[in-house]
Symmetry: C2
Subunit: 299 residues, 2 copies
């Protein structure tokens, strides 16, 4: 099926069997495409160890239950499929491992979601970082967009979902504005989140992050725990854009790169425009935990 398409390295599990990444497909009639009716989770592995795999699995199964999607395998089997995809894909050194379930396909193309048979897919590809490692001393340049993150009154952000239209259009707005990534807001001009990451600010040693209208990221949770471990007060509360712009430091959290500094918001630096001491300490501790058996499990 790959034809003229080029694929990254990796391996997948689809239609009940392991396959090459190029063969991991789903029908164009799948509700995962035609309704974005799906949920997913992504874990990462580094040096042959998954980071907080159980937390990702717990969230994946909880998200599916919220959306009335039945994952066709038990949690332990899902973990084993993720491991096997990493092994087959040869990405144990640094792997991005996504499991997803969609409403699936209705044999009659019925418009009733209860008629559909769910689609379950797992794939493992090389782990990419939102901010590449060689730019960690520099930091990310974000645009703060007037596009409003899809509100929780419409789509529950705690069930991880593919409703990224606003985020992708925000990325294009960021490129237009000369920035490299985007942070969306809510109608009260509070900071929400960006494409695949949560947002944090640091002010007077306190670590702040939005509490509403955002994914409850596992990396977000990790950052909050590590901040507490380092003795910082952590605050989950609305984060006004003005507060964010005036922060001493700012960073993002994501499975795709962990804890990464924000250096600029639009045409102004955050703090002195360089990654600050709290961000750096959190980042170092984050990677230290990747060697800690309490936080990791072997592939």
């Amino acid at each position: 099926m790959s034809d003229s398409q080029t694929f990254p390295p990796g391996a997948a599990y689809a239609r009940g069997q392991y396959c090459a990444i190029a063969d991991a497909t789903l029908s164009v009639l799948d509700w995962g495409l035609l309704r974005s009716d799906a949920t997913y989770d992504v874990a990462h592995c580094i040096d042959g160890r998954f980071f907080r795999l159980d937390a990702h699995l717990d969230r994946f199964y909880a998200s599916a239950e919220k959306l009335r999607l039945d994952i066709p395998v038990a949690k332990a089997d899902c973990a084993e499929i993720m491991r096997e995809c990493v092994r087959r894909g040869g990405v144990g050194e640094a792997g991005y491992v996504e499991c997803l379930i969609t409403r699936g396909l209705s044999p009659t193309f019925s418009r009733d979601p209860r008629d559909a048979v769910p689609t379950f897919i797992v794939f493992a590809v090389p782990l990419g970082f939102i901010l590449p490692r060689d730019r960690w001393d520099e930091g990310l340049h974000v645009h703060i967009s007037g596009i409003r993150r899809i509100p929780p009154e419409s789509v529950d952000p705690t069930a991880k979902n593919y409703h990224w239209h606003d985020l992708v259009q925000g990325l294009y707005a960021a490129y237009d504005a000369g920035a490299e990534n985007v942070v969306l807001t809510d109608p009260a001009e509070n900071i929400c989140e960006g494409p695949g990451f949560n947002v944090f600010a640091v002010k007077d040693g306190r670590v702040l992050t939005p509490d509403r209208g955002v994914l409850r990221g596992i990396s977000r949770d990790t950052a909050l725990r590590l901040a507490a471990e380092l003795g910082h007060e952590t605050v989950e509360a609305p984060l006004p854009t003005a507060t964010f712009r005036a922060a001493d430091e700012a960073f993002i959290t994501s499975t795709a790169g962990g804890i990464m500094p924000i250096a600029r918001a639009d045409d102004r630096p955050i703090g002195d425009g360089r990654p600050g001491p709290v961000t750096r300490a959190l980042r170092d501790l984050y990677w230290e935990k990747h060697r800690d058996p309490a936080w990791t499990t072997p592939v």
Copy 2:
């Protein structure tokens, strides 16, 4: 690729060639799935004739442009591909013909949408009606949901998209409430739309439909034109839920069935709970236009 999956009749065009509907697939790495970064349009044909095909094509290309998606074929070629899918699928009697474009696949699994190569697919399957023809004298029983339709400040509803999470969760809420379909609202308790349809009310001979936060449906446009042709005043304006519940008549419009009556909203009838004269006249005129060369083109 079909394995244990069962598919409706039909035919498709994917990866630059015609194929069986079971073989019309896309990669699990496609941004159409992983970001719901896509747009689409659906035309229907009846008795060997497309209804308002040009209007659907115009909207499809306009939607793609809004999202910065380049459709890889010219409009006339797209029309010809749609025709050929209908012929190959044998659904000219009553066909549902969808063309879609996604951001596509990034060969490196890059997080930058500009690196992706778009995916263009067309498929034709049998036309299904939201309210089956044998229930047109009965009417639809809808639930009016407190789930808020994704607002235009987040996702432009005029670029037809697959952001249906709210609509599908609304369907489940409707089933729980004993209804068969759902209408979502906005935070001001105005009526928005349902899964794949616009909503109309008729009060004292005036034909009312929401003007904001809804798809600019081709069938919606058709209903407005036909209402004018029948001498009704038409009003595109916010439609409060209370006004809707107190309407003389109500109906939905969709490519999937045209103009179909609403009989009940939650536990109360609309009007006398039976399809009213304005709805019936519009419906009859709608199907009459399907034989009019001014509104149709041959497959």
